[in-house]
Point group: C3
Amino acid sequence: MRDPQTAARLMSREELTSQAAAVLSRLRGKSPRVHCITNSVAQNFTANALLALGAVPSMTLSGEEIGAFVARSDALLVNLGTFDRERREATSIAVDAASQNGLPWVLDPVFIDRAEQRAVYARDLILLEPKALRLNAAEFAALADAAPAREAVEAYARARRLVVGLSGATDLISDGDRTATLTNGHPLMARVTAMGCAASAIVAACLAVEPDALAATASAMVIVGIAGEMAAEKSRGPGSFAAAILDALYTIDAKMIAARARTDLH
Amino acid sequence: MRDPQTAARLMSREELTSQAAAVLSRLRGKSPRVHCITNSVAQNFTANALLALGAVPSMTLSGEEIGAFVARSDALLVNLGTFDRERREATSIAVDAASQNGLPWVLDPVFIDRAEQRAVYARDLILLEPKALRLNAAEFAALADAAPAREAVEAYARARRLVVGLSGATDLISDGDRTATLTNGHPLMARVTAMGCAASAIVAACLAVEPDALAATASAMVIVGIAGEMAAEKSRGPGSFAAAILDALYTIDAKMIAARARTDLH
Amino acid sequence: MRDPQTAARLMSREELTSQAAAVLSRLRGKSPRVHCITNSVAQNFTANALLALGAVPSMTLSGEEIGAFVARSDALLVNLGTFDRERREATSIAVDAASQNGLPWVLDPVFIDRAEQRAVYARDLILLEPKALRLNAAEFAALADAAPAREAVEAYARARRLVVGLSGATDLISDGDRTATLTNGHPLMARVTAMGCAASAIVAACLAVEPDALAATASAMVIVGIAGEMAAEKSRGPGSFAAAILDALYTIDAKMIAARARTDLH
């Protein structure tokens, strides 16, 4: 299973599904609080995705109160969509509060391929040690200045000492030592705004209950991908799909994970 | 029915259902305008809940225009979620405009149990005489510095001369003289973000057509609780539930209220 | 068919349906990027409507990055809902970027009948030459200081050299030379917030792929009206309707347009 070109071990389907089932069960039991700095387009859907799965969201951006909110949370999400001065100030305070309280945080560098300033800012944030990055191929390319292939992802994760969760037709999740590949998901997920943002929030929720950041990130991405497939079976288009994936996040269980998870071992 | 420990009379089921039916009918006939200062997570769902029921929402926070919007409205909602400087300035202007125009307003002190500054601000706002407070047990405890039991709610309402609408497994609504208890609702309501925020907006809509603030608040909470039950019957999880409760707010009528309302008279 | 009182020619049903089918096909093929300055209530639904139809939305308001986003887009929407200082600054930069890059833009002067300052601002924006205005009767009256009848709409469009897309029981679309009337749509559209805002974003998406601004605007309004009818057939109220209209925007095709379009030729 070991790819000779990289140092990373490919995780097995059994390893991934048993981890995801354990993480889901802990998440439902503990109802972790996740504070989200996210764009105004995504706030509602992200909050609903967290609630559907069993976590408790909060969303304030106010500099005066965000420190108190983060300190009482179990994980933090920083999403760069619709990024403005208010969100930048909030992020600075929030990441500080997370560090002081030993909380894991996730960075979702939305659309950094569209404005160079956002990419610069994302690179600065990575120095503040997020546990995980969740992003798509264009965003990875803009961030890492490298093609979004397995070797580059593993090298980037190893160098930055974080987990990269790269979404795509095949998801690629790596901390540089271990790599998971996943092929769950459905094309309708790209037709609902904030789907990636909600996935990043779910990564944060999983990090709140699972100290192994690779296991947490891969579990979140298995859960979201399978929920997408479950939702597509009950949908007539992106509107009914958006409701159905929240239903699926609410009903998904260990059995569905075991039955549906697909890894991509070449 | 009178509880000897308090001064408040418990309202009967018949009183509550006939009031709620009358308020609903007036609301549908008059389509009151409700201006909402609410958090960005809740804006869309709150607007849709008001439209579904028959009211007309507006949501601007801009200091330059909010005075004009409130002056042309029939009621005002102030919700403290995601509270920032912009919302604080907007609130000051809006509450002023409401007072000058004799409009009722509702305060929803979201998450004041999470940040002390928000609780301080909520206490200041209560001096400006909202007609009703809608909140949950943790928020009441943070606000009133008292356990959220019937006696404390009645004492608080009497002292502040407002209506308290406390949501929970049993809703408790009181102005200190009269108290209503309601047990409608469904656990899925806690799995959709902004459900409480939307309920508070519906309290404002009912206050726009019913001068008796206790009747208005209790009517709103009966309507929302029953709509939640109707929605749960058609849902497979929180995503389909969020759509179904808007459908239910659109279709609920006097007959459904009469058939489904549940008071909790010990 | 020519109305003797006006200079404008009424477009035929065949002309409108074949244009709309061609525009829809190009839109699905090209996936144009539409940058939206819109109110926080409407952002999520607007993004989902664009994605459902096949366009790619972006929504940032940050002055530092909006210029870069607009420059990489194919069309711009400026919606005046919840209009504040941040949106005003963003609009100034964005309209500038659109002009410099030769991109079409649409103005949706939401609620200018509610606050005089907003109307003044809308009139200033019109001097910056949007390709199209989409608005309702009350907004047209406030903008043009004239009753929203056919002659006034045509005269306004001719004088400002833009397309007016006036929504109502009968939609009226005119550039002063040609006029289209449409009677598709459904009353539930008025019970979902941001429906008009999303329609304006779809006008922008159509302008991105169709240089004839009248054809683009009329096509967008045919598509939205028919999608509304398709959605109403599958709905139990405004909640299920909001999801169903996104499904309909995803599935609508040339055949449905040909079968369902209704013009109102007296």
